[in-house]
Amino acid sequence: MKNLHLEIAGRTDKGKLRDRNEDSLLLLPDLGLAVVADGMGGHNSGEVASGLAVDIIAQFAAKMLGGAREIVPDGGDARISVRARQLRHFIENANTMIFEKARAFPKDHGMGTTVVAALADERSIAVAHVGDSRLYLFRKGELTRLTEDHSLVMDQVRHGLITEEQAEKSNLQNILTRALGTEPRVKVDVEDHPVFRGDVLVLCSDGLTKMVSDAELAAVLRSNEGAAETVDRLIAMALEAGGVDNVTVAVIRVAPPRPRGFLRFVRRLLGGR
């Protein structure tokens, strides 16, 4: 399937203070798939974990989506779409592989990674995530966060114990309640969202969100540049603000609405929107 109306771009940067880049990025524009993973663990295990996550997702996506026939895992939640179920399946498999590798090699013990993945076509998008990497939706000038971090501070915000502003300043931001590869099984949050022309989706690691506020992010998206330019600008902003952590950003732009005119008139005649 060719996603002619989707423009996908992404980049990862080591940042200014870290020696290594533990983030991994996967972009498969032909399948409409974008994945950002932020690894953790001693020595180079972080990059092993995030690298494994994107590799496994890429392998499964190529087999199950890219072949002559799409393969759909049996069973699962009926309330979510087929694509969402496929995406969940990819991520659950990545979890198993990372967990087993961490168990087999003592040096990788305790490694893990966050993951946020978006599988988009022209009508809808399936979003899956584990950990504190995020997906934002920019629609009609408004920025909405479509993922909720699996972190201690976000749990507290959800329970009304602290405010969002307090959470952003908290010392406990780095404590996750869920990650890929740290347990034999993982609960992957998956949601379906309809997509409209002109929507922009941003996937990013915490290296962006801890450096660039939601308001600044919205301001960049309002300037309505191409996907690659948006990625470059956001990474540059994170680096300017200190570049404390690895920064990874992926942007999916859905082609803007066609000019109003004849088509719209015909649609209206047919009783559509």
Binding site: M40, G141, N171, I175, T177, G242, R273
Partner: protein
């Protein structure tokens, strides 16, 4: 690059940057690190680096090479390991944070469940909440009382530079067992007052709920007008923390408390949402 501290008893004699693939240690002057002491062999041991790993190798010395008080022939070196040669010692220091003090940690599932299950606030929770406000406090000080146990973070890594954003400060590791409990959980529903299509009530699960005619929308609605037409997706409700906002996908179509919505509006308990022929009431419950 790692560093080596050459010590005699407790006193640091020399600081050496590990900038070569290997360092020989011994009494004779052709060594990289010369220790002039009769108990030290001519060529006593070697410290070497291959790729990411550092190790020490005994060169058949008379009195032996010890790593953390254990006699070794060859041993890997990690942050804070002490290589003892007679009464001298070499401390191996990694400049990168030692493994285990990595930026992020994950709570074990048992702790997460405890967090979700325990009712009401507890002292530990308040300390955690207080720690959240003290963004400039040294992390060790913030996490120790919360955890009720000494933080595992090595103290020297604490950055005195308060101007750095919190993410820049060294990461703490919170012992996993004591966990702040959760307080009230907020659940929100949409009650159908008029024009029900499938169910009379919808619980708002996840972060986003869509309202529209399409089968992609979780909350189906009836159209209005002669043709009973309704947008595929008319509006969406998004949760952020415990706050909900309604966003018009089709500007001006949804109405909240009688007013047309363009862009987004925050939702409050009891708000009336009209989409075409369907009227919904937004209800919040704290349990």
């Amino acid at each position: 690059m790692p560093k080596l501290l050459l010590k005699f008893n407790a006193a640091v004699i020399k600081e050496i940057v590990f900038d070569k693939p290997s360092f020989s240690v011994g009494r004779k002057p052709d060594n990289d690190i010369v220790i002039d002491n009769p108990a030290v062999s001519g060529h006593h041991c070697k410290l070497a680096n291959i790729g990411d790993t550092y190790f020490v190798e005994d060169l058949e010395s008379t009195n032996g090479t010890y790593v953390n008080q254990k006699r070794v022939m060859k041993a890997g070196l990690h942050h804070n390991d002490v290589v003892t040669i007679a009464r001298h010692s070499i401390v191996f220091l990694e400049d990168a944070p030692p493994p285990g003090a990595d930026k992020t940690m994950v709570l074990p599932p048992a702790a997460v469940e405890a967090l979700a299950a325990s009712p009401g606030p507890s002292p530990a929770l308040e300390i955690v909440a207080a720690a959240a406000e003290l963004d400039s406090a040294p992390p060790a000080a913030a996490s120790e009382p919360a955890a009720g146990a000494p933080a595992m973070e090595s103290a020297p890594a604490v950055s005195p530079d308060k101007t750095l954003p919190p993410a820049a400060s060294p990461q703490r590791t919170l012992p996993p067992e004591p966990v702040p409990p959760a307080a009230a959980t907020t659940t929100a529903r949409l009650r159908v007052l008029k024009g029900a299509v499938s169910q009379p009530e919808f619980e708002l699960k996840g972060t986003s709920t869509y309202i529209g005619k399409s089968d992609r929308a979780q909350v189906p609605i009836q159209g209005s007008g002669i043709f009973k037409s309704a947008p595929e997706v008319a509006a969406s409700i998004h949760r952020k923390g415990e706050n909900y906002t309604l966003m018009a996908i089709k500007d001006g179509y949804p109405k909240v408390n009688g007013a047309d919505v363009t862009g987004q509006v925050p939702l409050k308990d009891g708000d009336i949402i009209v989409c075409g022929g369907t009227t919904l009431q937004f209800c919040v419950q704290k349990t």
